[in-house]
Subunit: 350 residues, 2 copies
């Protein structure tokens, strides 16, 4: 095969090295480079890469493929710095979490005699650094592939080969689609996690909240422990999509809030929760097949009717059991209690 | 000790049985009751309880302690039904996720000759049912104890003994505090999880979103798989607190949204993410000690200054690496791109 250069030996770059080593590619040398010399020395000692080189130029100049696995903010500079030293027809790929800016940087900074194919393994983790790297990181994970318009088929196939060697599942899409989709399933979850953590952390009741918090709080705030550098770069390179999906998220929260607030919507509230449960279980057991965008259609009426029947039956059962609570509950009792609770919370509102 | 009756043999009631069995209490019989006879038979066969009884009345009439572990909506009826059959000085406790209504129901439905001490183990799981029960469920988990005003010390101590036998850590608070706190660290996370799932599930791009989603999406939407019955009952018995904290959550999301939107706030955005990371790591490694509410004070200025210094240094380092991205990024390029992305998203806004 040749010589693969990995630029940036953190969690992702290090895991690429380990996964390639596990795949035992024939006649291939993996060379690593990192700005941090100590990290490079550790990577070499631990066998994450076969060799390291003291400069970017030397790391890439004989490479048949270059994998840029630096923080997003460093990608442009790396592309600019390696451009003049790349062989003709060298295949360059990256692992950044957003693709629109990266594809533009590649077009601006790389010479036309090389091929760029964007990549993004859906396999993050909140801890960064070489010490977190592992050969299994990409196993069975989706790996987005975003070819540049002028990348030849051979270059794209080579990146597919890399992705398969890493144990991941290639998933083709264009940069706009990619950035819109990851905003919904990755970047808004990050914001939601930070906001949930801040909500509790910045309350005067934090010592109590921290002490009684269970696994739900820990799991849902997990992403708040992510590297601030990664989050920052994601938000500024995917601003419009993130804001779009964040507005939709807040609208959905508002809708749920209104269902909870209205004493006449208890059945709708129950149905909403029951639908989410049923649909998430379906997603886990039997994820939807990807369909061509032009063939997409709304969920058919038959399916709506089925869901309505399912949740209706569940509600009947619950309402029968819950009759006392729902029917006998007095509005007056609840409201005077609410006033007391508001008093308890007043110091929070400052 | 005597005879402990567990009413409701689902995840929580079943786990109470198994954890008690593991604790091997001397001279104690654990009797179980469930509305579902088939569940009762399985609990007896699996040794979750020593005995079962064919009626609520028989299950509780010789009990020294009764643990009500039914869905919240059934608690009131159970308290009403068992009241007349309880021995004098019987200790009644429960495991419901909200405490205000439960404490009122206990006062209304139980005779004065018995003692009620509310309880809430902070150890849920999205899967319910006896088959999910395990002896270790409560190990090292906080267990909220909410004594009724007229519960004698002996009754409270007996419940502390139960909690310790289950392997959990007792945590005293009153019903108002409890319901306010769990709204923040448990009920708002549930809503956030359902909203995140719906955001993706109800998009036309769902097949793509489902296929590229990684562990972040799965973890953060986990609570959407919870029992709709539990969520529903939580929201209607803790409405005011949930709405209060949900408003605060949406305000924090709005604040983060503004930081992301403003091109002049990139450093603040970075600092916000860096603070959340540092503070969450502190929380995991060294959770704050609970302090008396009257002694609570704002975070001291010295600590603010320290955080500012920490995040400032991180930002300098990042900004140096990210210079190209941050300085050379042209507003014009970003905005025309944004227009294209909006087109891509238009069908989402219906």
């Amino acid at each position: 095969m040749g010589r693969i250069a990995i630029i940036g030996l953190g969690l992702i770059g290090g895991s690429v090295g380990l996964a390639l080593k596990r795949a035992e590619p024939k006649n291939t040398t993996v060379v690593g480079y990192d700005d941090n010399r100590e990290v490079m020395a550790r990577a070499r000692r631990a066998g994450v890469v076969d060799e390291t080189e003291p400069s970017l130029e030397r790391a890439v100049r004989e490479a048949t493929m270059v994998v840029v696995a630096t923080p997003i903010a460093a990608v442009r500079r790396v592309l600019r710095d390696i451009g003049p030293h790349l062989q003709d027809k060298c295949i360059v790929t990256d692992t950044a979490s957003t693709k629109g800016d990266v594809m533009r940087w590649a077009k601006q900074e790389l010479p036309e005699r090389v091929y760029f194919v964007g990549g993004h393994p859906m396999a993050g983790r909140e801890k960064a650094g070489l010490q977190e790297a592992e050969a299994e990181l990409f196993d069975e994970r989706p790996y987005c592939i975003v070819p540049s318009v002028d990348a030849v088929g051979g270059a794209v196939n080579a990146v597919v080969g890399l992705v398969q060697a890493l144990g991941a599942k290639p998933f083709f899409l264009d940069a706009d689609e990619h950035d819109a989709y990851v905003a919904a399933i990755s970047h808004v979850p990050l914001i939601s996690s930070v906001a949930l953590f801040n909500l509790a952390r910045h309350s005067n009741a934090w010592p109590e909240l921290a002490n009684i918090s269970g696994p739900a709080f820990k799991d849902l705030t997990r992403l708040a422990s992510g590297e601030p550098e990664l989050g920052h770069d994601i938000f500024i390179t995917n601003r419009e999509n993130v804001l779009h999906w964040l507005r939709r998220y807040m609208a959905e929260l508002q809708r749920l809030s209104e269902l909870i607030e209205s004493q006449d919507e208890e059945e709708s509230l129950f149905r909403t929760l029951a639908e989410a449960q049923i649909e998430r279980e379906q997603f886990l057991e039997n994820p939807p097949e990807r369909v061509d965008a032009r063939l997409k259609m709304e969920m058919p009426t038959a399916s709506d009717a089925f869901m309505s029947m399912m949740t209706g039956a569940l509600w009947q059962e619950h309402a029968k059991r819950a009759q006392d609570m729902i029917v006998e509950r007095t509005r007056i009792g609840v409201e005077s209690e609410a006033a007391r609770r508001r008093r308890l919370m007043e110091d929070e509102d400052d």
